[in-house]
């Protein structure tokens, strides 16, 4: 009985709704129009957030790159001065080279390493989960803590693990962080190590997605495991590889935490040999208070990221 009376009341509610102008408008929409209304209702907050927190500052940075500003005083237009200054700044070109060194060394090394690990780990059944967790652990660890631990590893005898190890076999000491040639690879190593776990997981997911029968068919055809790797596994992993190349390239182009924390007493040192673009921007903006110049550097970084990503997507895209 209660249910019946409930049904009887519902139309009256609807009538009240329909009398209201906005509700009548909504009521008259088609189903797909209603879905659009709801989609925008849910999207409104993130869109607003993105506009205020992302797009507005980005646009502002573009404008700022043509201005002079010390963070407190008035802004004044400077035309292309910031870019001209950047072009003539030897430190910028040094930093530019460093950034590309991080990219050119970091991306291929980390990809090859993570693929080799994933390829073999995929075949291991013994303690599979534990080993995978061990590889993933660095990815979850704070970059700051990790950088400091590695910094400690790199110390000379008797503190540093690596040098102690070398010394116990009678090898000479290696200047890891204090040499202008060794510092960049030394900083890069923990950065690669930190990202490895993530890449291994993604590669393994990609490997798992390849049907087992492809390998069985190849076994029946009797082709070598080398052929299987190069002609079946890697081509089929292409979407995974594209994703990881783009993802890790962006990561290495934006490298900051490891460098900053491993060279705190002289950020980006020695002699700017480890300084990446992001650290230069940070330095210009918050130590030099040269906001316009920093904005110009940011625009350059943005452009590099955009171009590198587009080139990679183009090269690796499926025909």
């Amino acid at each position: 009985m209660r249910r019946a009376s409930g049904f009887a009341r519902a139309p009256r509610h609807l009538e009240v709704w329909q009398r209201n102008g906005a509700m009548r408008f909504y009521h008259n929409l088609t189903i797909s129009q209603k879905q659009i209304v709801w989609a925008w209702a849910f999207l409104a907050l993130p869109v607003l957030f993105y506009v205020v927190i992302r797009f507005y500052p980005t646009a502002n940075a573009f404008v700022l790159s043509f201005q002079e500003w010390n963070l407190l005083g008035a802004r004044s237009f400077a035309g292309f001065d910031n870019y001209v200054r950047l072009y003539n700044d030897p430190v910028f070109w040094k930093v530019f080279r460093n950034t590309f060194m991080y990219l050119i060394l970091g991306t291929p090394i980390s990809l090859v390493l993570s693929f080799v690990i994933a390829y073999h780990l995929d075949k291991v059944r013994f303690m599979h989960g534990t080993i995978r967790a061990l590889y993933f652990l660095p990815f979850m660890t704070s970059a700051v803590a990790m950088a400091w631990v590695w910094r400690w590893f790199y110390q000379p005898v008797p503190i540093g693990v690596f040098n102690n190890f070398l010394a116990s076999f009678g090898f000479s000491q290696i200047q890891f962080l204090s040499s202008t040639t060794n510092a960049l690879p030394s900083v890069l190593a923990p950065a690669i190590w930190a990202g490895l776990g993530f890449q291994v997981i993604i590669f393994m997911a990609g490997l798992r997605a390849i049907p087992q029968s492809y390998y069985e068919a190849a076994r029946i055809d009797g082709v070598s495991s080398w052929t299987v790797l190069w002609e079946i596994t890697i081509p089929l992993l292409k979407p995974t590889i594209v994703f990881l190349v783009v993802f890790s390239s962006i990561g290495f182009l934006r490298i900051f935490d490891q460098v900053y924390n491993m060279t705190t007493n002289n950020p980006g040192g020695p002699l700017n040999s480890t300084k990446p673009l992001v650290l230069l921007i940070y330095d210009t903006a918050f130590n030099g208070f040269n906001m316009g110049y920093a904005a110009a550097q940011t625009v350059v970084l943005f452009t590099i990221l955009l171009i590198v990503s587009l080139i990679q997507l183009r090269i690796l895209r499926d025909r």
Binding site: A217, A218, D221, G222, V223, L236
Partner: protein, 352 residues
Amino acid sequence: MATLSLRNLVKTYGKVEVLHGISLDVADGEFVVFVGPSGCGKSTTLRMIAGLEEVSGGEIRIGERLVNDLEPKDRDIAMVFQNYAIYPHMSVRKNIGFGLRTAKMPKADKEKRIEEVAAILGMGDLLERRPNQLSGGQRQRVAIGRAMVRDPAVFLFDEPLSNLDAQLRTQMRLEIKKLHQRVGNTIIFVTHDQVEAMTMADRIVIMKDGYIQQVGTPLEVYHKPANTFVAQFIGAPSMNMLPGTWTGGGVRLADGLGIELPRRNATEGAEVVLGLRPDDLLVTDRKGLFSGTVNIVEPLGADTLVYVGVNGHEVIAKASGREPPQPGQTVELTADAGEMHLFDAASGEALP
């Protein structure tokens, strides 16, 4: 081309034995279909013949040669997989040619062989296509081409038609059968579909729970099923099974109804099961074996399946397609004594 023989083939996974010593001889050029419900061991057997699964016990011989410990590539076999296993990033030509990668023959000969196979399968003009530009049936043909190009002694098919829609399946069934008549290689074909088994096979191997239930030609397994499992598995709809006791001159069904039968190899008073195929149990105007009330009618066009309630249980019978009985109607059912099957109730074995 070659014979294939299995001797007491056993497969265990850990402590679980899934294949309990099966033996089978396949003649040169024979088309043998393994059929059974999922988990019966038919695919495992096929994969053991292919060399994809290790042999836990027994022997596999291909053309007199013991192949137990040979790598798949050395067994002179080719296999067509359920999901075709054709590589999406390679053209049809490369896919078919993949089977020749390790073959020691000049490149020109390989190309010629690929063209030949493509011509046989009617896809000569599709060689440069990618698999994603092909229809399901064409992909299936590429998979068969990949196997054919190797010209193996034995073809192995692992449920190759189950990913196709019903119409295409019927068509491919016919094509594979024609192909067999043309190339004449020995074929082992695994399926769970008894219609595929009946239509394609020279001989059918019916398996269940890791045992072979019966081996025979399609007509043998249909007309002389070895046990109740085979009787119900082969033929659709399933055979009606009516429990009763053997009286010496016939069967007394559980509900007291007596049905006369020619002499059978059974002792008087034994518990038996009477099997009647729906195709043989016909609705008649005259006095039949027994009568019942029609519950459901399924018109098939040519004839009509009638679900008839007889003393509390339901049997499926066949009626004419033109004037089918209506639900609720009482009908007389009749069957030819020669088409009645008798099984031992306890063991399920046929009583000839």
